[in-house]
């Protein structure tokens, strides 16, 4: 009696799997090895030294827009250019993600509205912006719409101390005038925030105990704005403002939001919102009609039904594809090259590479930046997604 049946090796799934994996692995290793050999050979043949020594060299070009990190022409080095590039990429990505989420959610909901006209307008919006290449859209908004319709600096549109022209929006920036007053104001604001937080907690407990609800959000919002302003006056108005002034050719002083940033942000927002709107529509439609009916049958209002029954279930379908859209938006911000916004690809993989010729390391670092940003974004959102998805087996 034999308790094991002999299987020929080529029909044994286990043996076959191991063989296929070994072959694949050796091909990958060989490919990587020959790539490395070719690169090193080429670099040696052309006499190019790769390395990080150029990081500390002074960058011979100017960067006009950097909200947090200071850039001084003739002093700042290449590595500072790298960080400014990252900063600007993150800035436009965050602005774009926030705006695209809000706009996408609204368009997605309007798309499902029983109002025929509203629904068709949303449909047109989605089909137009989803189907036109993003680069074309960025150039369209910047060169065909904003640039021609805005005046030269001399004839800037003036709104208070804000000036809008074809170069962008010039605005006053706050400067700390009286530092002890400022610290006092910051402290009172922190205390105020803490107090409002306690109030929100109390209001929630009260709601659970008595069933009576307060409009906590609006109360807190107005209390914060109102009290914040009063405290500001009490602390002796500790901020001064650097107000932009028209010089010979351009504005001096104050801060500037350059037009390319606005065009890029606008294009990224309307483009990505079209995709997010489709995710939102799909998510809401995935919640079965029986759920709405059950909620209505209990006497729940339409608003509470959407808020407490439909949206929480729709979010589970909406979030995973929307994470991809956030990543797409971040990567698409590299198209800023077309309008000259100074994000990482423009200033690092563009200008710095041209100036130094260090293609290998610069491209590798640029890839690493996008890789890190994407992984961080998806790690955070996957965590959020798991949190809201824990129920329902």
């Amino acid at each position: 009696m034999t308790d094991r049946v002999r299987i020929p090796l080529h029909r044994d799934p286990k043996a076959r799997a191991i063989a296929i994996q070994l072959i694949a692995l050796s091909l990958v290793v060989y490919g990587a090895y020959s790539l490395f050999q070719t690169t090193v050979g080429n670099l040696v043949a052309r006499g190019i030294q790769t390395g990080t020594s150029f990081f500390d060299e002074v960058a011979p070009f100017n960067i006009g827009f950097s909200p947090l990190l200071d850039f001084k022409l003739g002093e700042s080095t290449y590595i500072e250019v790298f960080f400014i590039g990252i900063q600007n990429t993150i800035l436009v990505s965050i602005l774009g993600i926030v705006a695209a989420t809000v706009l996408g959610f609204i368009v997605g909901v309007v798309r499902l509205s029983p109002n025929w006209l509203a629904s068709k307008v949303a449909l047109c919006y989605i089909e137009i912006f989803r189907n036109v290449p993003l680069l074309l859209q960025i150039m369209f908004w910047n060169f065909a719409i904003f640039l021609p319709s805005l005046p030269a600096p001399k004839n800037s549109i003036e709104i208070g101390s804000f000036y809008l022209n074809a170069r962008g929006l010039h605005m006053p920036t706050p400067i700390i005038d009286n530092s002890s007053g400022f610290i006092l104001w910051a402290l009172t604001l922190a205390l105020l925030t803490f107090g409002l937080f306690i109030f929100a907690r109390r209001a929630k407990v009260r709601f659970e105990e008595t069933g009576r609800r307060l409009p906590v959000f609006s109360i807190n919002f107005f209390a914060f704005v109102f009290c914040g302003f009063i405290f500001y006056k009490i602390c002796g108005s500790p901020l001064a403002f650097d107000i932009p002034e028209l010089g010979r050719f351009n504005f001096k002083g104050g801060g500037q939001l350059p037009l390319p940033l606005f065009s890029l942000w606008f294009a990224l927002t309307v483009y990505t919102a079209a995709f997010i709107a489709e995710n939102v529509r799909a998510g809401i439609q995935s919640v079965s009609h029986g759920q709405t009916e059950a909620s209505h049958a209990l006497g729940m209002s339409r608003r509470d039904t959407v808020r407490l029954v439909v949206i929480p279930q729709a979010l589970r379908v909406i979030i995973p594809p929307t994470i991809s859209q956030f990543l797409n938006l971040t990567k698409n911000s590299s198209l800023a090259v077309a309008v000259g916004f100074e994000e990482i690809v423009a200033v690092w993989a563009g200008i710095s590479l041209n100036q130094t010729g260090q293609a290998l390391i610069i491209i590798a670092m640029t890839i690493a930046v996008y890789e890190c940003l994407s992984l961080l974004t998806s790690a955070f959102l996957n965590w959020y997604n798991r949190r809201i998805q824990l129920s329902e087996l």
Binding site: E209, G211, G290, S295, L298, M300, L308, V309, Q313, S391
Partner: protein
């Protein structure tokens, strides 16, 4: 089922639902044709009929999950119109149990039961939870209160759905084929709960093919076909001496096995 309720053993009260000349169309299709129906407080009505005969549509009109085009429906003195206030008032008085349970999968069993108490009745959470636990005990699953609907069997889910409706303290309960999505061994646990409700004098309208339930619990059985009420009678007379040919055919088809 062990409990047997004698038809008419409970004194019937005043009219609670009054349907007059009800007509409804889905596009060209005439689903409900001139329906007249009065339901008295405490009455237990079973509606049966072949599929597509309009039975579900009829009871869904009573809490306006379906909109009718002609005729009037008055529930507990409230006329059902476009007026959302009237609709919500009626829905608070009328509980509904669905064929596919329609529990909220993202909420626990307890939260399913307290949701409407908190947001419709504006009740404190603690009080709402006490009421919910009382009804979960009544349907004999208080120990499942912290679970999610997806973790329960079909029969348990349907009992939660009944408890969820009862929490709102409705005057009328509508059942839309409550046992047809259940495995056979779970049907009786749901029917037991419904019999218990009937014993307590709940006004019930039940679309079902459970003829044993109809015989024991109903004081009126209604047979519908092609959007009309073809025949209605007390269960004994209905089952033993059906008057209409279509009723006879239907009964012979569902009772022959």
């Amino acid at each position: 089922m062990t409990i047997d309720i004698q038809a008419n053993s409970i004194e019937l009260g005043e009219t609670i639902i009054k349907i007059d000349g009800l007509n409804k169309w889905y596009g060209q299709f005439h689903v409900l044709k001139d329906i007249n129906l009065d339901v008295k407080r405490g009455e237990r009505i079973v509606i049966c009929g072949p599929s597509g005969s309009g039975k579900s549509t009829l009871i869904r009109c009573i809490n306006r999950l379906e909109v009718h085009q002609e005729g009037s429906i008055v529930v507990d003195g409230i006329l059902l119109t476009e007026d959302t206030k009237h609709i919500n008032d009626v829905r608070r008085e009328v509980g509904m149990v669905f064929q596919h349970f329609n529990l909220f999968p993202h909420l626990t069993v307890l939260e399913n039961c307290t949701l409407a108490l908190i947001w419709v009745r504006k009740m404190p959470k603690k009080e709402a939870e006490e009421i919910a636990m009382r009804y979960l005990e009544r349907v004999k699953i208080p120990e499942q209160s912290q679970k999610y609907p997806g973790q329960l069997s079909g029969g348990q889910q349907q009992r939660v759905a009944i408890a969820r409706s009862l929490c709102m303290n409705p005057r009328v309960m509508l059942f839309d084929e409550p046992t047809s999505a259940l495995d056979p061994e779970m049907i009786s646990e749901v029917l037991d709960v419904m019999v218990g409700l009937a014993e307590d004098g709940m006004t019930m309208l039940c679309v079902t093919h459970e003829m044993g339930f109809a015989r024991k619990v109903a004081n009126r059985v209604i047979f519908m076909d092609e959007g009309q009420i073809v025949e209605q009678n007390e269960p004994e007379a209905f089952f033993n001496h059906p008057q209409n040919d279509r009723t006879r055919l239907f009964l012979s088809q569902i009772l022959q096995h």
